[in-house]
């Protein structure tokens, strides 16, 4: 975009979907699985365990709306995991899984969250790195 100020930080990084995956990292910086774990188990940022169960004994309350995340790193590649976290609606428009890195197509978003994705680009990479370690 010619003329866009260099300091503009787009809240959402454009992605290229190939098949059922996003092969390219959103940031070019490798994800950190430990940070990813903190996000996934957090009831403030990731919210994942509201809907999913998984190998996270530190979190007592786990959900049953989505599949158990045990073994997901063996079932899916990092590229496939990335699309499921960024925007699972591209695979299943009716999914209950929120799109974590998308801000368009949403209605009645509360003021505090408007224009902000659930996870920023590096947080997505961190979560993907953690999910890739869940191989059994």
């Amino acid at each position: 975009m010619a003329g866009a100020p260099a300091f503009a930080q787009p809240s959402v990084v454009p992605v290229t979907v190939v098949g059922d995956a996003i092969p390219a990292s959103l940031t070019g910086v490798p994800g950190d699985a430990a940070r990813g774990r903190a996000i996934v188990t957090s009831r403030r940022s990731g919210l994942c365990l509201l809907c999913h169960a998984g190998p996270f004994p530190e979190e007592r309350f786990q959900g049953t709306l989505g599949p158990d995340l045990r073994g997901v790193g063996a079932r899916l590649s990092a590229a496939q995991l990335r699309l499921r976290v960024v925007d699972g609606r591209r695979l299943n428009p009716a999914t209950t899984m929120p799109a974590y890195h998308r801000v368009d197509g949403l209605a009645r978003v509360g003021n505090a969250w408007r224009g902000k994705p659930l996870l920023d680009a590096q947080a997505v990479e961190d979560v993907v790195a953690l999910l890739a370690t869940l191989t059994d």
Binding site: R60, L65, V109
Partner: protein
């Protein structure tokens, strides 16, 4: 049978059909379960036993307020309505209902607040104020055991339809519709909570998490905030329209107010 009652019957059937269409897993309309059905045995026992149910404290205060004079004319609810056990029977079961004066649907709490201002000319009863909740709980108790009976009033149709649309609209940063949780995923666990079917039969409730009584409006606002959506102010049309839709989904179910919730 009066025409209104017959109309309510038809409506109950229509509502039951809608419920069936929305969730193929339900084979019968009485597969619908009140919120108390998925609670722990302790919480259920607390709701069942009036001596243990903390909401009964609000009922007792409501009963006292019922006969207390207020406003310049010094009139009490009882001066116009007599014994609530007779005059208020079934009133909660048919709310929200159409209010002639404001030409809008109002829920039971709003109806009581309006009566207080219009007929008693006393100060306003703010939403979630102790007095409004106490009177609402006392009036709701008079419908306990009766079937939810949304009025077949055509002036409510557009509002009810709007409520149905709101129930199915995905909202908020989490992009979730009420129906995705309460129709498609009822009975599953959302973190530590079991998702109820969202029937309004027990309101107002005492909620352990709130350590207080609260209205259906408060509950709906909580769910909206939970998906990080805009939360309408109390008494906003969205909340009443949603309550109308919830009442038609629950038509024929038994009022078990005042409820207890975790």
């Amino acid at each position: 049978m009066s025409r209104v009652a017959a109309g309510a019957r038809v409506l109950a059937l229509v509502a039951a059909t809608v419920v069936l269409a929305a969730s193929p897993a339900c084979v019968q309309s009485d597969a619908r379960r009140p919120g108390s059905a998925t609670m722990s045995p302790q919480t259920r026992a607390m709701q069942r036993d009036d001596a243990q149910n903390p909401a009964m404290l609000w009922v007792a205060d409501g009963e006292a307020l019922w006969s207390r004079a207020a406003g310049p004319a010094g009139r009490a609810c009882a001066d116009c309505h007599g014994d609530a056990r007779a005059s208020m029977r079934g009133v909660a079961a048919r709310h929200p209902a159409y209010d002639e004066a404001s030409r809008r649907p109002v829920d039971l709490g709003q109806r009581i607040a309006a009566c207080r201002q219009r007929h008693q000319q006393a100060g306003p009863l703010a939403p979630e104020s102790h007095e409004r909740l106490a009177l609402e709980a006392y009036v709701a108790l008079q419908s306990r055991g009766m079937a939810v009976a949304p009025p077949a009033d055509p002036r409510l149709d557009a509002h009810r339809e709007r409520g149905r649309a709101l129930f199915h609209q995905r909202i908020g940063q989490l992009d979730l519709a009420c129906a995705q949780c309460h129709d498609a995923n009822a009975g599953k666990r959302l973190g530590g909570s079991t998702i109820p079917e969202a029937h309004p039969t027990g309101y107002p409730i005492y909620r352990l998490e709130w350590q207080s009584a609260g209205s259906l409006q408060r509950r709906l606002r909580g769910c909206m905030g939970g998906v990080r959506a805009e939360v309408p102010p109390y008494d906003a049309p969205d909340l009443v329209d949603l309550a109308l839709h919830l009442a038609s989904r629950a038509a024929g179910m038994i009022v078990d107010a005042p409820g207890v919730r975790p």
